[in-house]
C-alpha cells in the first residue's frame, strides 16, 4: 500500500469537495472490503482516501408509500435483514444474503457493491481494465479467460472483457431502481440500468460517475402487488467467492400468466446484462419447465464464448431457467398461504 492522506468528512458535500477531478487521485472508502485489497495490490494508489463512514445522511433504509430509499452506506446485511426488502423485493434480499461471509456482508455496503471494481485477473494484476499488451492487442481472448464475459465484449479487438462483479445490480435493475449521485455541481438521478458503462479508454471506469461524484442512495419504486421475483446464482463453491453466472427475474403476473418480465443476468458481461428477447418471449405465457427453458435459450442466444468459457453460456441459460421456476414456485406458495 502506498502512503495516502485520510479524510473523514461528515457531509456528502464536503466529501465531494475532497475528491479529485481525475480518476485515481482520490478514492472513496465505504466498507473497504474491495478498496483495501486494491490498494494492497497497488491496483489503486490514491493520494487521498475519503471515508464515507462519518456521513449520516448516507445510512439507513426508509420505506414509504412511494417505495424504498436505500442509503449508499447501508450494509449488505442490513439490506438482507430489512423487512420491507425481504417481503417485497425478495430477489434483492436473496442476492444480498448470498454475498459470502457474514464479515463481508457486515462491512460491505450497497454503494460499494455497485461500485466495486471487476475481479478480472488482468485488471487485478496491473494490466488495466482493458488489459492490452505493449502493442495494444487485447490479452484476454488469447489468454486465460475462463471467468470472462460471454456478452458485451468486442470479440478480437481491444475493449472490455471483464464481467461486472455486482450481484445486487441485476436484481435492482429488474425493479427499475434509480441511483442518486452527488457531486460538486449538486445531485442527479440516473436509472441504474444506464449507470453502468463500458470504458472506451484505459483509465475510465465501469460506470458513468464522474471522478468526484458519490453514489448517495438507491431508489426503488413501490413494489407492485403479486410480482414474482427470484435470483438464481451458480457458484463454483459455497463460500467466499463471486458467482460464475446469475439471473434475477421479476414477473408481473395476470393470473397465472406473465404480463411482463424483467430478466437481468449478472457476471456474464462488463455490465449487468438484460435479456430482452427472453423477456418478450415470456409475455402472455405461464411459467413451465418448457417456457422457462425456452427463455433460458433466448437469453443466451447472442452469447459469444471466448476460448475458455463456453461453460458459462450453459450456466447463464440454466440460471435464467431456474430463476424463473423459482419465481413461479414462490407464486404457488403465495397462493397456498393466502
Amino acid at each position: 500500500m502506498n502512503v495516502f492522506e485520510y479524510a473523514n468528512p461528515t457531509t456528502t458535500k464536503e466529501a465531494a469537495g475532497l475528491l479529485a477531478a481525475q480518476w485515481g487521485e482520490a478514492e472513496i472508502l465505504a466498507g473497504g472490503t474491495d478498496l483495501l485489497s486494491l490498494m494492497k495490490n497497488y491496483v489503486a494508489t490514491p493520494k487521498r482516501v475519503v471515508s464515507l463512514r462519518g456521513i449520516k445522511e448516507l445510512s439507513g433504509i426508509t420505506s414509504s408509500a412511494s417505495g424504498l430509499r436505500i442509503g449508499a452506506m447501508v450494509t449488505l446485511q442490513e439490506l438482507h435483514d430489512h423487512k420491507a426488502v425481504h417481503d417485497d423485493y425478495h430477489s434483492l434480499a436473496h442476492a444480498a444474503g448470498s454475498v459470502p461471509s457474514p464479515q463481508i456482508r457486515n462491512l460491505g455496503t450497497v454503494g460499494g457493491d455497485l461500485c466495486q471494481r471487476p475481479r478480472c485477473w488482468y485488471f487485478r494484476n496491473g494490466f488495466g481494465l482493458l488489459a492490452k499488451d505493449e502493442k495494444g492487442q487485447p490479452l484476454v481472448p488469447a489468454g486465460d479467460n475462463r471467468y470472462h464475459a460471454i456478452f458485451g465484449h468486442p470479440g478480437g479487438s481491444p475493449g472490455a472483457y471483464y464481467v461486472h462483479p455486482s450481484s445486487l445490480a441485476p436484481a435492482l435493475i429488474t425493479f427499475g431502481a434509480r441511483v442518486k449521485v452527488a457531486g460538486p455541481k449538486g445531485e442527479r438521478e440516473i436509472p441504474l440500468a444506464s449507470f453502468f458503462a463500458t470504458p472506451k479508454r484505459e483509465g475510465e471506469r465501469e460506470n458513468v460517475l464522474m471522478p468526484n461524484e458519490i453514489v448517495t442512495e438507491i431508489i426503488l419504486a413501490a413494489a407492485s402487488k403479486g410480482m414474482l421475483t427470484a435470483t438464481y446464482e451458480v457458484r463454483q463453491k459455497e463460500a467466499l467467492d463471486w458467482p460464475l453466472a446469475t439471473a434475477s427475474v421479476a414477473l408481473r403476473m395476470s393470473g397465472d400468466k406473465v404480463k411482463s418480465a424483467r430478466i437481468v443476468l449478472g457476471h456474464v458481461a462488463p455490465v449487468p446484462w438484460p435479456a430482452h428477447e427472453a423477456e418478450k418471449l415470456l409475455a402472455g405465457q405461464t411459467i413451465t419447465e418448457d417456457s422457462a427453458a425456452k427463455a433460458g435459450e433466448a437469453a443466451v442466444r447472442g452469447a459469444k464464448a471466448l476460448s475458455g468459457n463456453k461453460y458459462k453460456v450453459q450456466l447463464a441459460r440454466v440460471a435464467v431457467k431456474r430463476a424463473l421456476l423459482e419465481a413461479a414456485a414462490h407464486g404457488k406458495e403465495g397462493m397456498q398461504h393466502g
Binding site: N2, N41, R124, D144, Y147, Q236, K237, A239, L240, Y311
Partner: protein
C-alpha cells in the same frame, strides 16, 4: 481437572493452546528488534534469461537503502540442501520467474515497496521449458545434461515376460496439478548478522537445522557461529521445509550488510507466487490381469515436474515412486520414475510428498482395471490387497498384521457404501443432480524413506532441573499439528509425571540437538520414540540413584512429583546436570538397498480406506462432496482430538486438491497468486468428515503409534473422482476437476 495417567490416548489440552487463543503466542511478525529494518526481494520477471543490467529508478533515494546482490555474498552463493545448484541470489542467469536477484532494506516498509517497484531487471531471454513432456523431450536443456534431477527404477519379478500371461491389459494416463500449501501464516524471518557475533535468525519454519545447514556455507562461517530459532509457526504442510532457508539467507545477507536487524515477511501474493508448491505429475499405467482379476504385471511410469532447481525433488520422487503401486501384491512390477526440470519456481515439499500424485493415478486406474475385468472396484481390490507376509512393489515383506479387507468393510459399513452405490445407479438415470460414491485404498509410510532415518541419526535429549521440572530438547517444531502436546504426553507417561511439569524447549539450534526435520509423518513416530527412550534413560538414572517408583520404591507405585523432585535435586547436587540423550537406531531387521531400490522402505505404514459421496449437477457442473468416511489403521492414537484433526484437515486439503485448487501457469509464473482467484474450499464446501481409527500397535513407535500427518492427503482425490465417475460415467483422469474439466468430460460422454 488433571487428566489421569496414562495420558497417551487422551485428548489432553494442547500445550501451546492457551497462548495461541489468547494472542500471547509470538509469531515472527510480532517480534520487533531495536533499529530493525525491513527487507524486500526483487525477483526475475522472466522464466529464463541472462541478466544484462539492473536499473535503479532515479526517483528513489537509494543512499538510504541497503542493496544486496549476489556480489555481497560472503561465502558460497547457494541454498545448500541436497545439491548446491540453487543460487541464493541469481548472478548471471535466471532460471525461473520470481527468482530472487536483488535484496533491498529500509526502515520504512512503504518506501521499500515503492523502491522494489523501481528496480528494473534488464534480461536477455533464453529459451525455456514449461511442461513435463517438453522437458523429457529435451526441447531445451535447462538443467544438467538431460533435465533430469533424479530417476528411480524399481523392479520386482519379471514384467517383460509376464505380459504373455495377462489376459487383460489396461492402460491409462493420469495427471495432477500443482497445489499451494496455504498455511495461515505466510513465510517470514528476522536476522541479526555481523562478522563478530555471526548469524542468528528467528522465523516461521519446519526445520531449523535445514536453515542452519544453508546458512553455514553461504556465510562461510563455522557451525557454532550460526544460530536458528523457530518462532511460533502458523502452519507449514511442507511449505516451510525448504524455502525458509532462502528467506533466512536473504534476511541475514541484508542484516550483514546493513549492520542492523532485518525483518523479511512475505505477503500472501509473494508467498504464493515465489515459494514452493506441490509437484505437478504425470503417470502412465499399464496393468496386466487375469480374467478373474488377479494382478499379473504392473508397469508404471511416474514423472514429476521439479521446477528450475533440484531442491527436494529427489526425495519427493522417491516417496511417490514407492507409493505408486499402493497396498497391493503383484508378482511383477516395474516402476520407472523421473523428476524433471522446468523453468518454474522449484516445486517442493507438501503433505504427502509425491504420494498423493502417484496414489491418485493408481486408485483411479484400478477402478478402470476393475471395470475391464467386469468386477466391482472393491472386489478387484480385495483380490489383490497385500496381506501380512506378502511383499510390496519394493519387495518389502509386510510384517505388520495388516487387514485391508476389514478396513474396507468398516469404511463401507460406516458409509453405507453398497446400498448407496446400488441406489444411485438406479436413481441417476432420471436425475439432473446425479450422485456417486467411490473409494480409495492406500498406505502411507512413516518416517524417512529407506536408509534416510539411519542417515539422519536424530538425537533427542531430556533433562531435569533441581525443581523437578523436565525439559524435552528436540529440533522438531510445533507447526500447529500438536508436536509439543504429543511429546508432553509421551514424556509424562514415561516418567509418571504430571504434564504440567514437562516443558518443551523452543527449537533453537544453539540449545537443542538435531532431531531431524519436522516432515515425513516422522515426528510422533520417530522423534516421539526418541523422547520416550530418553525419558526412560532419565528415569533409569534416577532409579539407580534411589528414586522410589516401580523398581526402586514401594511395589509398582509410580513416584509422586515430590519424590521425583527430591530425587532430581539430590542427583544434581551430587553429580551435576541431569540429562539423558537418545539417538535413533533402526528397528532390528530393517534392510534397504539404495542401488536396487528394494527392501524395507519404511519401518511402518498407516493403512486406510476412504469413501467419498458426491453429487454432480449435470447442467451446471457443480460438484459437492456430501459425505466423507475416513477409516485408517495408525498403530495407536496418542491424542484423539489432534489425530482426528490431522485427518479432517488432510481430507479438506484433499478436497481442494481434487476439485478446486488450480494453479494457473503462464510461462512458468503462477498467474492466480491471490486467494480471490486461487480457489480453496472453505468450511462451507467441506462435508462432515467421519473419522475412524483402528489400532494395531507398532512396537517401535511410542506407545505403539505410527505416523499419520501425510496419510489423509493421499486418498480423498481418487475417492472423489471415482465417485464422480459413478455419478456421471465420466472417466476423468486429471485433477483438479473444475467445472470446465467436468463439462468437457461430460460432453465427451453424451456425444
Amino acid at each position: 481437572m488433571h487428566p489421569e495417567p496414562p495420558l497417551i490416548g487422551q485428548a489432553v489440552p494442547r500445550k501451546e493452546g492457551r497462548d495461541k487463543v489468547t494472542g500471547r503466542a509470538r509469531y515472527v511478525d510480532d517480534l520487533v528488534f531495536p533499529g530493525m529494518m525491513y527487507g524486500a526481494t526483487v525477483r526475475s520477471p522472466v522464466a529464463r534469461g541472462r541478466i544484462r543490467a539492473i536499473h535503479f529508478d532515479e526517483n528513489i533515494p537509494w543512499q538510504e537503502f541497503t542493496v544486496v546482490t549476489a556480489q555481497d555474498i560472503p561465502g558460497e552463493n547457494c541454498v545448500a540442501l541436497i545439491l548446491h545448484d540453487q543460487p541464493c541470489l541469481a548472478a548471471e542467469i535466471v532460471n525461473h520467474p520470481e527468482e530472487p536477484v536483488v535484496l533491498l532494506g529500509h526502515p520504512d516498509k512503504h518506501l521499500l515497496e515503492e523502491a522494489r517497484r523501481a528496480v528494473r531487471l534488464e534480461t536477455e531471454p533464453l529459451p525455456a521449458v514449461f511442461t513435463i513432456e517438453d522437458s523429457l523431450a529435451k526441447k531445451e536443456i535447462i538443467w544438467g545434461e538431460d533435465n533430469v534431477f533424479k530417476s528411480f527404477l524399481v523392479e520386482k519379478g519379471d514384467v517383460d515376460s509376464a505380459w504373455a500371461r495377462a489376459e487383460i491389459v489396461v492402460e491409462g494416463e493420469y495427471e495432477t496439478g500443482a497445489q499451494e500449501q496455504l498455511y495461515i501464516e505466510p513465510n517470514g524471518m528476522i536476522a541479526v548478522a555481523n562478522p563478530d557475533e555471526g548469524v542468528t535468525v528467528w522465523g516461521s519454519m519446519q526445520c531449523p537445522y535445514y536453515v542452519h545447514k544453508a546458512l553455514v556455507p553461504l556465510f562461510g562461517l563455522s557451525k557454532d557461529k550460526v544460530r536458528v530459532i523457530q518462532a511460533e509457526t502458523g502452519g507449514g504442510f511442507g511449505g516451510k521445509e525448504e524455502y525458509p532457508s532462502m528467506i533466512a539467507a536473504h534476511a541475514a545477507l541484508l542484516a550483514w550488510k546493513a549492520g542492523r536487524p532485518v525483518k523479511l515477511i512475505y505477503d500472501r501474493a509473494e508467498d504464493m507466487a515465489a515459494t514452493t508448491k506441490r509437484h505437478p505429475s504425470r503417470t502412465r499405467h499399464r496393468t496386466g490381469v487375469t480374467r478373474d482379476g488377479k494382478l499379473v504385471a504392473l508397469e508404471i511410469d511416474f514423472v514429476i515436474d521439479g521446477g528450475a532447481y533440484c531442491t527436494l525433488s529427489p526425495v519427493v520422487l522417491s516417496r511417490g515412486t514407492i507409493h505408486a503401486a499402493g497396498p497391493y501384491e503383484c508378482p511383477n512390477v516395474r516402476i520407472r520414475s523421473r523428476a524433471v526440470a522446468t523453468n518454474a519456481p522449484p516445486h517442493g515439499a507438501f503433505r504427502g510428498f509425491g504420494a498423493p500424485q502417484s496414489v491418485f493415478a493408481l486408485e483411479r486406474h484400478f477402478d478402470q482395471v476393475a471395470k475391464a475385468c467386469g468386477l466391482a472396484p472393491d472386489e478387484f481390490r480385495r483380490r489383490n490387497f497385500v496381506h501380512a507376509g506378502g511383499t510390496l512393489a519394493v519387495s518389502q515383506v509386510i510384517h505388520e498384521n495388516v487387514d485391508l479387507p476389514q478396513l474396507m468393510e468398516r469404511a463401507f459399513a460406516e458409509s453405507d457404501y453398497h446400498a448407496k452405490r446400488a441406489r444411485f445407479a438406479r436413481e441417476n438415470r432420471d436425475a439432473r443432480v446425479k450422485k456417486g460414491i467411490g473409494f480409495a485404498a492406500f498406505l502411507h509410510g512413516a518416517g524417512f524413506t529407506g536408509s534416510g532415518e539411519e542417515y539422519l541419526a536424530s538425537v533427542v535429549a531430556v533433562e531435569a532441573t533441581a525443581e523437578g521440572r523436565v525439559r524435552v530438547l528436540a529440533a522438531s517444531t510445533e507447526i500447529g499439528q500438536g508436536a509439543n502436546t504429543v511429546f508432553t504426553q509421551i514424556a509424562a507417561d514415561t516418567l509418571g509425571l504430571d504434564p504440567e511439569l514437562i516443558d518443551i524447549a523452543p527449537p533453537d539450534t544453539a540449545a537443542v540437538p538435531n532431531s531431524g526435520p519436522t516432515v515425513a509423518s516422522r515426528t510422533t513416530m520417530i522423534v516421539g520414540k526418541l523422547v520416550e527412550s530418553a525419558a526412560l534413560g532419565l528415569k533409569q538414572t534416577l532409579v539407580s540413584s534411589g528414586l522410589p517408583g516401580e523398581r526402586g520404591g514401594p511395589e509398582g507405585r509410580p513416584c509422586t512429583s515430590e519424590e521425583f523432585q527430591r530425587a532430581c535435586a539430590e542427583y544434581i547436587r551430587k553429580h551435576g546436570a541431569l540429562r539423558a540423550t537418545c539417538q535413533y537406531a533402526p528397528p532390528p531387521g530393517i534392510k534397504w538397498d539404495d542401488e536396487k531400490y528394494q527392501g524395507d522402505a519404511y519401518g511402518a505404514y498407516a493403512w486406510a480406506v476412504y469413501v467419498a459421496e458426491v453429487s454432480v449437477d449435470t447442467v451446471t457442473y457443480e460438484i459437492r462432496v456430501d459425505d466423507f468416511v475416513a477409516v485408517q489403521e495408525v498403530g495407536k492414537v496418542i491424542h484423539p482430538v489432534l489425530a482426528t484433526g490431522q485427518i479432517e484437515g488432510g481430507v479438506a486439503q484433499g478436497i481442494g486438491y481434487a476439485l478446486y485448487e488450480n494453479v494457473v501457469w503462464r510461462e512458468g509464473r503462477m498467474v492466480n497468486a491471490q486467494m480471490t482467484n486461487y480457489i480453496m474450499p472453505t468450511s462451507a464446501d467441506v462435508p462432515p468428515i467421519r473419522v475412524f481409527f483402528e489400532e494395531n500397535p507398532y512396537p517401535f513407535g511410542p506407545g505403539g503409534a505410527k505416523g499419520i500427518g501425510e496419510l489423509p492427503m493421499d486418498g480423498p482425490a481418487p475417492a472423489i473422482v471415482n465417485a464422480i465417475e459413478q455419478a456421471t460415467g465420466a472417466s476423468i483422469t486429471r485433477i483438479p476437476v473444475t467445472p470446465e474439466v467436468l463439462m468437457e468430460a461430460l460432453e465427451g460422454v453424451h456425444a
